[in-house]
């Protein structure tokens, strides 16, 4: 029978895992930012059905959503050295080439999903709302600020929270190109000290706590937002 030795998590192993956990959170925060920015941009473009960009936006969303994030990470990581000019590669090396590649790939991948969420949210706002905003003499910016955004945020925030949880879980793929995130450290502890079960347990608990916290926050948010809706109606 296997003898557990949890003390591995308090010494060197624990230090590595905490280091990895911080890298995971960093990866998640930066790629979430990129995903939101690109996702909103392409979501609005898809929704507006702006003629010349339509096929491009369709291809962007469909390609990103129908291919594995892992292969996308490998694609950007291995292709960057071929595609990019040497000057930019030197700069990226200083920032950590793998790290940047993973953020870029995950940001792009999830932006495809965010774009569809945003488009769905915009489509869910009834036409009458825009017409009413125009009728009471709102400027474009005013109707965005007071009519569009409040409703959009209420509709899409639960889906965006789900997407964030999925993004955090996908940061574990970073180990494929050698970024030392928390999953990577669990593997490292496994083959350096043969304490894989303990390290995997700690890693699993880390993901569980982070993801469940965010999901719980999402439930709370949803309840708050739907209460607001009831009182407004």
């Amino acid at each position: 029978m296997y003898q557990f030795d949890w003390s591995i998590l308090w010494g060197e192993g624990g230090r590595l895992l905490i280091q990895g956990a911080l890298v995971t959170l960093e990866l998640a925060a930066l790629s979430l930012l990129l995903a939101l920015v690109l996702g909103f941009l392409f979501g609005v473009l898809r929704w507006s059905q702006f003629g010349p960009l339509r096929p491009f936006c369709w291809l962007y969303v469909e390609l990103l959503r129908n291919t594995p994030p892992l292969v996308q990470i490998l694609f950007w990581y291995f292709s960057a050295t071929v595609i990019l000019p040497p000057g930019i590669i030197m700069v990226l090396r200083d920032w950590g080439f793998q790290f940047v590649a993973v953020i870029f790939a995950l940001g792009l991948y999830h932006s495809g999903f965010v774009a569809e969420i945003v488009r769905g949210g915009l489509n869910a706002i009834p036409r009458g709302q825009y017409e009413a905003a125009e009728a009471v003499g709102f400027s474009f910016l005013q109707s965005v600020r007071y009519v569009l955004l409040p409703q959009l945020v209420r509709i899409i925030s639960p889906s965006l929270v789900n997407e964030s949880v999925s993004l955090i879980k996908n940061t574990s793929l970073a180990l494929a190109v050698g970024v030392a995130d928390v999953t990577y450290q669990a593997r490292y502890i496994d083959y350096s000290s043969f304490r894989g079960v303990e390290a995997l347990t700690a890693t699993t608990l880390f993901y569980l706590v982070v993801c469940a916290t965010i999901a719980g926050f999402g439930h709370l948010l949803q309840r708050r937002l739907s209460r607001h809706r009831r009182s407004a109606a």
Binding site: M1, Y2, E62, L63, R65, N66, T67, P68, P69, L70, V71, Q72, L74, F75, F78, S79, T81, V82, I83, V165, K169, N170, T171, S172, L173, L175, A176, T183, A186, R187, D190, G196, V197, L200, T203, T204, Y207, L208, C211, A212, A215
Partner: protein
């Protein structure tokens, strides 16, 4: 661009079937893994989703715990559990079995939630009518609730199946020779054509997933769906 380096006869054969007949790999293994995974995950998802919806209270909690646990852990960590943990307890699973178990358990949690949502959408009148006809709970579930719930959740399930297929690419991280692993091997041997190799992989997955969506859209026809359900319910 060095496309002719990538598309040699040998590379194409390996991408499609791996080292068959010695061992199956490449696209064929990806499809095999996905199809078996989809069938098993759907069955488990139907079971867990139904139990969370209609089981006795402790079972409902257990099902809810399963869903919440599995949905908050990365698939990769589950694959590592399934492949690297059992040897510590004196048992060495095959790579294929490890990946399959992880993929099924992971995706079944999401499918259970989809099924539960479908069950909530079953009209009360249908359930009351079935009860009035004297159906038992099992008959009610198998002949009324689950078929209706299943049909209503086909679009959501399609999304999950696509994620499942994409998830099979993680198998390469433990060295299973599915199409991503073959692509990686080809890239390692060539070294000069990473854009071409990985673009090919992306295209392969894109085609597989579009095919999967198209196949699922066939099921969105109610008569066709009913014929299939009747075939299995007989």
């Amino acid at each position: 661009m060095n496309w002719e380096l990538v598309f040699t006869e040998n590379n194409v054969r390996r991408l499609l079937i791996g080292d068959w007949p010695k061992s199956l790999g490449g696209v064929a293994l990806t499809i095999e893994l996905s199809l078996i995974g989809i069938v098993l995950a759907t069955l488990l998802g139907l079971l867990v989703g139904y139990l969370r919806f209609a089981g006795p209270r402790p079972v409902r909690w257990l099902a809810a715990g399963y869903v919440e646990l599995l949905r908050n852990i990365p698939l990769l960590v589950l694959i590592f559990w399934a492949y690297f943990a059992p040897p510590y307890f004196g048992w060495e699973p095959s790579k294929f079995a490890s990946v399959l178990v992880a993929i099924v358990l992971f995706n079944a949690a999401y499918l259970a939630e989809i099924v539960r949502g479908g069950l909530l959408s079953v009209p009360v009148g249908q359930v009351e009518a079935a009860r009035a006809m004297g159906m038992s709970s099992l008959q009610l579930a198998l002949y009324v609730q689950l078929p209706i719930a299943g049909f209503n959740s086909i679009p959501a399930m399609t999304g999950r199946f696509i994620t499942l297929l994409k998830g099979t690419s993680l198998a390469f991280l433990i060295g299973l020779a599915e199409v991503t692993e073959i692509g990686r091997q080809i890239n390692n041997r060539l070294l000069t054509a990473p854009v071409e190799v990985y673009a090919t992989l992306l295209a392969i997955y894109f085609i597989l997933n579009r095919g999967l969506s198209a196949a699922m859209r066939l099921l969105e026809d109610r008569r066709r769906f009913n014929r299939i359900v009747c075939f299995f319910a007989r």
